[in-house]
Symmetry: C2
Subunit: 189 residues, 2 copies
Amino acid sequence: MTEKPRPLRADAARNRARVLQVAYETFAEEGAAVPIDEIARRAGVGAGTIYRHFPTKESLFRAIVADRLRQVVERTREQAAVDPGEGLYAFLVHMAEQGATDLGLTEAFAGIGFDLAEALPDVEKEFTGLMADILAQAQRAGTVRSDVDVADIKTLIVGLQAMRRFRGDSELMHRVYPVIRAGLAAPPD
Amino acid sequence: MTEKPRPLRADAARNRARVLQVAYETFAEEGAAVPIDEIARRAGVGAGTIYRHFPTKESLFRAIVADRLRQVVERTREQAAVDPGEGLYAFLVHMAEQGATDLGLTEAFAGIGFDLAEALPDVEKEFTGLMADILAQAQRAGTVRSDVDVADIKTLIVGLQAMRRFRGDSELMHRVYPVIRAGLAAPPD
DNA sequence: ATATAAACGGAACGATCGCTCCGATTATAT
DNA sequence: ATATAATCGGAGCGATCGTTCCGTTTATAT
């Protein structure tokens, strides 16, 4: 059933990898609205070359976001294994800092012009599962109140990323994080 | 020194008022990126008529934001006078709910394509003064921890509006508000 | 009622952007 | 070395949007 895709020509494979790398950096810096021509220019290829590998701009963005989220999952699982009680807080801070370093990811997570659950259902499920796991872990460790669920965590991340991107430098955010932390650690009403 | 501006013709005054009203609603619904032609269509005028009263789209947006922020200041001062300890929390919830009802204001406050302090320095100062007053009031009443300042409050508002707009329905946000509240009420570390 | 000038609407201009197309180039098999 | 086909770059198409322009309409003063 599966067609065997004949291997890419050497120059095509090189260009594809270069486009992915440059798109990764460019979407992070400029967000999903950056023109394809800008990515092409930075990669030193023509726009046609990008469209030969990715049929639409959205499909390129999707590939980048999927890769990025899988990196976060891996990193977070490692950290959470080391310190169960702190895993969720470290994850929240890490996601918040993405607001400063990766605008594309921040937009994707907020759902700005991009429906994560619709475009990448598998990745979204994996990511939601991760959050459920480290939240439950923190609640078992007693560092997070029991009446908080995964939807609350997703919502907080959207807020934290917006704060980091649109208002807060690193110093200011490190005064905000303890407030969020105290709120999450407080006993239920 | 001041030139006396001769009064507008009756139809011009009517159109100007109608454009303002429609722009108010349209920016709230669609955000600052809505095409001018859409506002013109809804107002039943030509694009030229809008540009006769407001030299650029940005100047129209600025007029709307200024008006909107002054309304919030007035409303908040009244509320804060009634209940000093709750004034800040009521203000935060009100601003958060703007995330759902007024996209234009949310964008302006986050600084998305619009620098509030640069475009409307007087309004921005008034608004910052308001926040300083009700924060100090709450801290005096003992409902907010002492190590929080106005910059933190501005940052929290950006985050809360993003949460409300991009993730949270009203029910979910009413589970998030108590977390923020608990974080702000907690004693300093 | 008429003259005057203010105001009107919407066509059109120039810039931007996603995407397609095609003549020129280049990797690869022989 | 040559033939073949994959790949390339970038000009160009069509759509969108801010803004301007101008022939027509309309309010107002007389």
